[in-house]
């Protein structure tokens, strides 16, 4: 079986991932709801994961996919910690808008 990239082209994957990554960035900047911001970050990470896999195929090398596992672990850990922080903020503040987090400034 031939390389699937012969039919799609690695560039297309790169473009897709870049767009997806940028959508993640956009989401982080666009939304004020902390949960959605988290989700946007997840989108960014997933974009990278996808690119890893694409490159893995490109190089016919499994390391890229192995790396995705680590990246998933990291994402999971981050989400867990992030949500924990979020929950304690919600308890103290009653809101999860990051716009309300402006006490520290200047």
């Amino acid at each position: 079986m031939g390389n699937i990239l012969n039919q799609i082209g690695i560039e297309n994957y790169i473009f897709l991932c870049v767009v997806l990554f940028c959508i993640g960035i956009f989401g982080v900047l666009y939304r004020r709801n902390a949960i959605i911001v988290f989700m946007s970050i997840e989108i960014m990470l997933n974009a990278v994961n996808l690119l890893f896999v694409a490159f893995s195929t490109y190089h016919q090398d499994a390391q890229g996919q192995v790396f995705v596992f680590f990246s998933m672990a990291v994402a999971a850990a981050e989400v867990a910690v992030g949500l924990a922080i979020l929950v304690s903020i919600f308890r103290n503040l009653g809101s999860i808008s990051i716009d309300n987090l402006k006490n520290l400034k200047g």
Partner: protein
């Protein structure tokens, strides 16, 4: 490698101690353990080996920096005793997190594979998020944690993207392989882009302009000990790692091959100058000491970035600078911890009259601030000297002049604090002389001065 294993083991022991209900022993044990690790680390000094399929590469660079991290961690753990007095149930967690953080740091300077680098930086970051937010009932701490977390994971995403592009270009995560490939003429553009993205992510971690905005807010909001950790250990780890990343991946030569070197240097110069200037100028008007030190840290990041102009030769200078900066920072923060123990904030007003109530601590804080300002005999001066020396040697005299101007500005705010200590009347009683705080403060400032008197001790390690 052994160091890393030992540190991890030590962290797990800390957790076990809690289970075994042996809280009181945690800190002494950890300190002893860390001293042991330090000794172990010294044993590895001088060898250049790689372990486990080149996942970990032990070199002089990694061992010296690891030793610095370990020393800093010892101080930070020692300070924990007093700081977490009121949280006895959590102390093992706090200490364990710090130990794991150290493990992350050690992994970062001794990585042989980008996977280790990435995991190391994530361990470090996540530990820091947790520590920043660790005062769960304090809104400021929450806010600091949240800010740091959001921006940190954003930066992590960028680093990951960069790693991905590097992988795409090289087909490998192995440092040795990448550094070999990077010298070849035909390189996909992905590699430099990936490197730049990773660099940007790391610049965020060391709080360089324009990626510095988080630092003052997070430093201010976090519990003071965490701030101490961030401004010393975390910053040093990040800058060392970035240095290692750029030097060991042969990034500079590869840029040279593609005629990107001058632009990259311009970027470094720009960021370095901007960091110094923004950090110093912003620090001028700060009332909160931690916030002020955050800006000071930003400016120091700018100074440290100057070493990147002479990557091939400046490892020793970077080590010296980071050591000088971190030791002064530890000394300063131990005094801050003492002074602001029961205060709601860390405003300069809290330091009024410290020269009269606690002359020793005031002297130590003064010394550490003078060191950061670069006044001779303290190692901060020699750090700057060597840095300027390197940079002038590389022909970047303009940067040095800007740096000098910034040193002058920095005196303005460092002396604000000194003035407050000596020229104002004390506005509060300060009782108690916690042994560990005094010990840490004195030892760290003594080390700082010894480094100043005998700079060759450290400088020659990496030259």
């Amino acid at each position: 490698m052994n160091t890393l294993i030992a540190i991890t083991g030590l962290g797990i022991f800390c957790l076990l101690f809690e289970i075994l209900n042996f809280r009181k022993g945690i800190i002494p044990f950890t300190i002893l353990g860390l001293l042991g690790v330090l000794a172990l680390n010294f044993c590895e000094f001088g060898s250049t080996e790689s372990y486990y399929n080149n996942m970990i590469m032990v070199s002089r660079f990694s061992t010296t920096f690891s030793s610095l991290f370990i020393v800093l961690t010892i101080f930070l753990v020692a300070l924990s005793h007093n700081f977490y007095e009121n949280h006895p149930t959590k102390i093992s967690d706090f200490v364990a997190i710090k130990i794991f953080l150290l493990a992350g740091g050690v992994a970062m300077v001794s990585f042989g594979n980008l996977a280790m680098f990435f995991l190391g930086i994530e361990i470090l970051s996540i530990a820091l998020y947790v520590l920043a937010a660790s005062e769960r009932l304090n809104l400021k701490s929450n806010e600091a944690g949240m800010k740091y977390f959001l921006m940190g994971s954003f930066a992590s995403g960028i680093i990951l993207f960069g790693i991905c592009l590097i992988y795409g270009a090289m087909g490998s995560f192995d440092v040795v392989e990448i550094s070999t490939y990077s010298l070849s003429a035909e390189l996909p553009v992905w590699f430099p882009i990936g490197m730049v993205l990773v660099t940007i992510g790391m610049l965020f971690k060391i709080a360089a302009v324009p990626f510095h905005f988080w630092a003052p807010d997070v430093y201010e909001g976090s519990p003071a000990l965490t701030t101490a950790l961030m401004s010393t250990l975390a910053k040093v780890v990040a800058i060392a790692t970035l240095f290692k990343l750029i030097s060991s991946l042969n990034f500079i030569p590869s840029l040279e091959n593609q005629d990107h070197l001058s632009t990259f240097e311009n970027i470094i110069i720009f960021i370095s100058i901007a960091s110094m200037t923004v950090g110093n100028i912003m620090a001028l008007r700060q009332a909160n000491v931690k916030r002020m030190l955050a800006f000071s840290g930003i400016s120091h990041a700018g100074f440290m970035l100057m070493t990147f102009l002479t990557v091939a030769t400046s490892a020793g200078v970077l080590l010296y600078y980071t050591a000088a900066y971190a030791l002064a920072g530890i000394a300063a923060f131990s005094v801050i911890l003492y002074v602001c123990k029961n205060q709601h904030n860390e405003d300069i007003t809290n330091f009024h009259g410290l020269g009269k109530t606690n002359p020793l601590l005031a002297a130590i804080l003064t010394a550490s601030l003078l060191s950061m300002a670069g006044i001779p005999i303290f190692s901060g001066f020699f750090a700057k000297l060597f840095l300027f020396n390197q940079t002038i040697q590389a022909g970047h005299i303009a940067v040095v002049i800007v740096a000098v101007i910034n040193s002058i500005i920095s005196v303005g705010y460092y002396f604000k604090l000194i003035l407050a200590m000596y020229s104002k009347e004390p506005n509060q009683e300060r009782t108690g002389k916690p042994f560990l705080i005094y010990a840490v403060a004195m030892i760290s400032i003594a080390l700082n001065i010894i480094l100043g008197l005998f700079p060759s001790l450290v400088l020659d390690l990496l030259n």
